[in-house]
Amino acid sequence: MNNPLAGIPLAAVGEVGEGFLKERTGETLPCQARPNHLFCADWASENLHRYGTPALQQFELVIISVLIGFVVAFAFALLAHRYHLLQWPLLAGTGLLFAIPSLAFFMLLLPITGRGRETAIIALSAYTLQIIYRNVMSGLANVPESAKDAARGMGLTENQILWKVELPLAVPEIIGGLRIATVSTVAIATLAVLAGGGGLGTQIYNGGNLTFPTAIILSGGIAILMALAFEAVFVLVQRLATPWRRAEAEATA
């Protein structure tokens, strides 16, 4: 045992607590009261219900932020696709937003939006812009020229080509961007507690009390599981959204 008080006569220790006395008399101390404990399964199963609301908050933060980020980044990409002059400024601008640490972003918004969920959502969606924008752009750029020529030959207008040929062919990369943006946002949304935005971080950073490993492992573990679940969903959606990939694979097999 690593108990620092081991070896000291019981009488000298005095009233150190029931748990300690129990341990000295052979009964077990609750896990969370033991020094150097790593994970208390009992505490975890008894308190798991506490994590429901924070997990749901985090889920909502991620969904809303990525949705906003997607709408804005998609609009940016369409603009840049139409007006090539905008490509570089939009890439650089979203790049700057991406490089600013989320925590700093939250606090830069403090004089404008104060603390709260909106602040967290603004910063998180700003973070996703670059990832989604880049992927939409590279998806559009990778559309084979022959596919566009064929569409032109069939008499499609440039607008029809964009919506009926280019964007459908760019779907895998667009979903890839959404996948990366979502998974990263799940992880970063754990910091939303510092912006007053709730989420799983509340169970880690509650009043600066950071020393209970079980709570840290539970919150972090739930966040990681949520990220992996999103990852799996996107991989599935990507398969479903690109039936021609499977057809190709079957044709070459």
Binding site: L38, G95, L96, F98, A99, I100, P101, S102, L103, A104, F105, F106, M107, L108, L110, P111, I112, I180, V183, S184, V186, A187, I188, T190, L191, V193, L194, L200, G201, I204, Y205, L210, T211, F212, P213, I216, I217, S219, G220, A223, I224, A227, L228, E231
Partner: protein, 240 residues
């Protein structure tokens, strides 16, 4: 629009932060000791730069050789790419809190944790960059009598520079951002201003955020410039 929504209060929030950066202020909780001012801002900035560069160096020392080797061999794709995906899912707050609770506080545990966040993007992008080098080019290099090591150093590495640097920039962004919450591991970076509202006041919090954002952008600009310099002229001329 009412007068209350005009920029005045907004402006005041940032003006106070500017004042915090350039001149020392009274704090209600430090017992007369003044906080803020350029000296303290620079001191905390420097700590953040030091730990971030150190962590980036450690991450590169580990991830670059691994990415080069496995990329050259063409083995371990699932691990290299999977690690990159898994790395994104790590919640930084939980990681630092975990390190503080289990390993302890100080620069060494902090740099270790930051390096953990930096390794996946560098490893994945190095691997992918090396794999994307045209096999015909590698065969040509082998044909003119280059050893495997020469092929790695003179052919694959230079051609993979853009991808590798993308990974390094991603790692740098993760590391700088997470170094901001380093006070949780007992290292006083700019995050101390951000997390210490009761000591530094709201002005201190906003000032910390401003300086952190500037620092992060400086890192990004420096690495983007480095990427340009390291990319060979022939590669730069190719349309991407």
């Amino acid at each position: 629009m009412s007068a209350a929504l005009l920029p005045h209060p907004l402006f005041a929030g940032f003006a106070g932060a500017f004042e915090f950066i350039f001149s020392k202020q009274e704090s209600s909780v430090t017992g007369g000791k003044k906080v803020g001012g350029l000296e303290q801002v620079l001191e905390l900035s420097w700590t953040q730069i030091e730990v971030s560069l150190l962590a980036l160096a450690v991450a590169m020392l580990i991830a670059l050789p691994l990415g080069l080797y496995f990329g050259h061999k063409g083995a371990g794709e699932l691990v290299a790419v999977g690690l990159g995906n898994a790395g994104r899912a790590i919640p930084e707050l939980a990681l630092l809190a975990f390190v503080a609770a289990i390993v302890g506080v100080g620069v060494v545990p902090l740099v270790g944790a930051l390096a953990v966040l930096g390794i996946p993007p560098i490893l994945t992008n190095t691997f992918v960059g090396i794999r994307q080098v045209d096999r015909a080019t590698v065969d040509a290099a082998r044909g003119v009598g280059m050893t495997e090591f020469e092929i790695m150093r003179k052919v694959e590495l230079p051609m993979a520079v853009p991808s590798i640097m993308t990974g390094v920039r991603g790692a740098s962004i993760n590391i700088i951002a997470t170094a901001t919450i380093a006070p949780l591991v007992g290292v006083v970076t700019l995050g101390d201003f951000i997390l210490g509202e009761n000591v530094y006041g709201v002005d201190g919090v906003v000032a910390g955020a401003m300086v952190t954002a500037i620092l992060a952008l400086l890192f990004e600009f420096a690495l983007a410039g480095l990427q340009r310099r390291l990319t060979s002229r022939g590669l730069r001329l190719q349309p991407q």
